[in-house]
Amino acid sequence: MTENSLHLRLPPETASVTTLLDALEAYTEARELPIKLASRLMLVADELTANVVMHSAGASFLQADVVHEGDLVRFILTDDGPEFDPLGRGVPNTNGGVEEREVGGLGMHFVERLAAQASYRREDDRNILTITLDARAD
């Protein structure tokens, strides 16, 4: 019987994104998550972890905790970088032709669109982001 949770503590560097995504692929297969839910989890993990790696100057670690219970998967990302809440920063313009389009802001937009719940808190000098994904969501 596989553990229903995954915990990884990693250095804040790009290689950690790969380590985390590899671990998540194995986890989603072991837990037999539906493909759509598994893919959304991968996307959320990639976007949020990449954000910390690229923007959190001074973070010494990031920690990913994943818990699967029934239809819900909770993804919690903790880092010890400067205070920063990536949520609620507005929706990027998704219109426009090839020449005008840029990618900035899209990552968080995906996370906020696909999550059933998303919240941020600052505690003990840590940024803590909690994302809940629901297998029943469209």
């Binding site: 290689a15 994104v17 790969t18 976007e47």
Partner: protein, 107 residues
């Protein structure tokens, strides 16, 4: 991310296998830009499990570069998770996609 090359009519086809994510996007971009030339490039996305915003950055770069070169650029066989991201981001309106390489070649 593995990339396999082939030809379909006059078009270059690049078949991708793996994740197009934050860690793999830059390398994939360099390789794919090297394959892009008139008349055009088709990316076979059958085995791409998901695409993050880093991957979209790569695809957008290819689309912009294709436009500059006067080359066609399209995607084939988007998986549901990838299609979802395309729709949310509006990229489905700016990068053509088809069900198969044959369709992309005839377009």
């Amino acid at each position: 991310m593995q990339i396999t090359q082939s030809q379909s009519g006059a078009l270059q086809v690049a078949t991708l296998d793996g994740r197009l994510d934050t860690a793999t996007a830059a390398t994939a971009e360099a390789a794919l830009l090297g394959l892009l030339a008139p008349p055009g490039l088709v990316l076979d996305m059958t085995k791409v499990r998901y695409v993050s915003s880093a991957g979209l950055r790569t695809l957008l770069k290819l689309a912009k570069e294709a436009k500059t070169q006067g080359a066609a650029f399209s995607l084939v066989a988007l998986q549901p998770a990838v299609r979802e991201v395309f729709e949310i981001s509006g990229f489905d309106k700016i990068i053509p996609s088809f069900a198969s390489v044959a369709e992309a070649t005839q377009a």
